[in-house]
């Protein structure tokens, strides 16, 4: 069964409005875990059969992958990686990226995925924003707290 991101957003809204703390949904190959942390819901989607771009290939080894040096200017802020893992810009190989420079996103729109041991953590910004710059290349390791995008409130 395929679950679109619209479906996920729907589920998120339902969970957000309810008193449920955690939802686990398994349909065939698809596993969906939604966990509430504080007031805002955060979603984790795992699907063993459709890893995002290059998830199965070893990540470019050894070479350090520092963020490009650009700093957030006045009125902008850095979106930081909430965990160490592999950064993916698209939901699966060949799919269009979640966002590009200039994209405007809603608070719950997924802007990238960070994979930690096959667990796909969808990253949202939590407010309406415009993507100013993407600091990390696809399929690179990102460190905890590493700036991954520069965004401006929209």
């Amino acid at each position: 069964m395929d679950l679109s991101y619209d479906d996920v957003q729907q589920i998120l809204k339902i969970i957000d409005a309810s008193s449920v703390e955690e939802l686990r949904l398994e349909i065939g190959e698809l596993k969906l875990v939604v966990r509430k942390r504080g007031s805002r819901a955060e979603v984790t989607e795992t699907s063993a059969d459709s890893p995002p771009a290059a998830a199965r290939e070893p990540v470019a080894a050894a070479a350090p992958a520092p963020s490009r040096q650009r700093r957030a200017a006045e009125g902008e802020f850095e979106l930081k990686a909430p965990m160490v893992g592999t950064f993916y810009r698209a939901p699966r190989p060949g799919a269009p990226p979640f966002v590009a420079v200039g994209s405007e996103v809603g608070p719950d729109d997924v802007v990238c995925i960070i994979e930690v041991m096959k667990l796909m953590n969808s990253i949202t910004i939590g407010q309406r924003a415009r993507i100013v710059e993407i600091l990390v290349d696809n399929a690179q390791l990102v460190e905890f707290g590493q700036p991954i995008m520069i965004v401006a409130p929209a």
Binding site: P58, V59, T86, E115
Partner: protein, 447 residues
């Protein structure tokens, strides 16, 4: 094996990275936000921030460590000591992720991790164990029965325990009930496992442990003993090799006992088999096996000339042990003092803070393993070990003299340390004359 992820911090991360470099291996350091800029992160070929300060979300986060190994191309993991070093699930997860775990198999860690099973196994092999319950005791009545049989004083001990938690000395039947309840609650809180066993409490004993090394081809050697009797509340403070209380006959018997256990569990890599030695009778008893490199490994390195961490890496990479039992020789005497950021004048209260001045000693026969430098911050989140000062001499007297001189010259400012305590121990006639036991620090130097 090309690139080793060092899943630890502090002096042991530095020690492992240096050993890797000496063998031409690349290294990946990991660190929490509290350790940003730490020495181990600068020595490694690459350093990755894996999480915030609390260890549960950084150094103990298995997923973060494995993701980092994959993302950096590491093909091996060295766990150091503490943190995940004796976590069988972590060892298994590394292997499952295609990584070489620099340590024993998950099965061997499990076999020795449960102290009750470890003791049963040792006893079945004819290795002497302390008289006590063969299995965890279910309730106070059962504990009473065992205590009566082995005789007071007895020790209540958590099956999953370590570091003195979940332990109570009980001197009479009337104290047992309260102590049992308290030890059980402490064991449950500390380990999530409230099983206790009861054993005869041996007084005025020494803690003596055998260092072993084994490869995957079944070859194993013992590298003599370390005496770790200078402890405070079961925390080792000062260690030495060889033990001044061990005769050649005890050494041989203890070494054989250790190797019997190692062969039985098909142990691979470095490990330590711990015993208590009763100097009054020269009898020794198995307590537990530590399935990792130990903090105090340098004293063995100093007297045997064997680089234990390098040996761990070689054995993990599939090499054979490069020497046999007959090649192991013990030369001279070595001492190690653990310099902790703790205030011995204030109940050993941890003393985190910024190191204002740091001038460790150096000289003939001295080695200092540390991750500290002037300006470094000792975070409050982890253990308080700052440095291990190791002195080697031609005999015990010479090693003590070298250590005393080294500690006189060791200049630290900014945090309180255990240096003054070590200076007192080294000058104490009981220590010099080998009249100490595992409770000597509390009895003689405690307040």
């Amino acid at each position: 094996m090309n690139t080793v992820l060092v899943a630890n911090r502090g002096e042991i991360a530095v020690r492992v990275i240096r050993a890797c470099r000496a063998l031409g291996l690349r290294t990946v350091a990991v660190y929490s936000e509290a350790d940003r800029g730490a020495v181990h992160t600068r020595l490694a070929d690459r350093a990755v921030c894996i999480g915030p300060a609390p260890a549960a979300r950084s150094y103990l986060d298995v997923a973060a460590l494995l993701a980092t190994a994959r993302g950096t191309g590491a093909d091996a993991v060295h766990p150091g000591y503490g943190f995940l070093a004796e976590n069988a699930d972590f060892a298994a997860a590394c292997v499952e992720a295609g990584l070489t775990f620099v340590g024993p198999s998950a099965e061997a860690i499990r076999a020795m991790g449960d102290k009750v099973h470890a003791r049963e196994r040792a006893a079945a092999l004819g290795v002497p164990t302390v008289p006590g319950s063969r299995a965890p005791v279910g309730d106070v009545a059962e504990a009473q029965a065992v205590a009566r049989a082995v005789g007071y004083p007895v020790l209540l001990k958590a099956a999953a325990g370590g570091g003195g938690r979940g332990m109570r000395v009980v001197r009479s039947a009337s104290e047992l009930s309260a102590a049992f309840t308290a030890a059980r609650a402490e064991a449950e809180a500390a380990f999530g496992d409230d099983r206790l066993y009861v054993e005869r409490f041996l007084e005025h004993v020494r803690h003596v442990e055998i260092q072993i090394l084994a490869d995957r081809f079944g070859a194993a050697v013992q590298l003599g003993e370390r005496d770790c009797s200078v402890q405070r509340r079961h925390q080792k403070l000062l260690e030495e090799a060889p033990s001044p209380a061990v005769t050649p006959a005890i050494r041989a018997a203890m070494g054989d006992a250790a190797l019997t256990l190692v062969a039985d569990i098909k142990y691979e890599n470095a490990g330590t088999v711990e015993f208590v030695l009763d100097p009054a009778t020269d009898r020794f008893y198995f307590i537990e096996m530590n399935t990792r490199i130990q903090v105090e490994h340098p004293v063995t390195e100093m007297v045997t000339g064997v680089d234990l961490v390098a040996a761990q890496l070689r054995v993990a990479a599939g090499e054979r042990l490069p020497f046999a039992q007959g090649d192991v020789t013990i030369a001279g005497h070595a001492l190690e003092c653990r310099i902790n950021a703790e205030d011995p004048d204030a109940g050993f209260r941890p003393s985190p803070g910024r190191i204002a001045r740091w001038s460790p000693p150096d000289g003939t026969g001295l080695r200092v393993d540390t991750h500290i430098e002037a300006g470094a911050v000792v975070p409050p989140f982890y253990d308080s070990l700052l440095a291990k000062v190791v002195a080697h001499g031609r005999d015990r007297e010479n090693a003590i003299a070298r250590m005393a001189e080294a500690l006189r010259r060791f200049d630290v400012d900014g945090v309180a340390t255990t240096l003054p305590l070590h200076r007192r121990i080294l000058a104490h006639p009981d220590f010099v004359a080998c009249r100490i036991h595992t409770r000597w620090v509390e009895d003689e130097l405690g307040r």
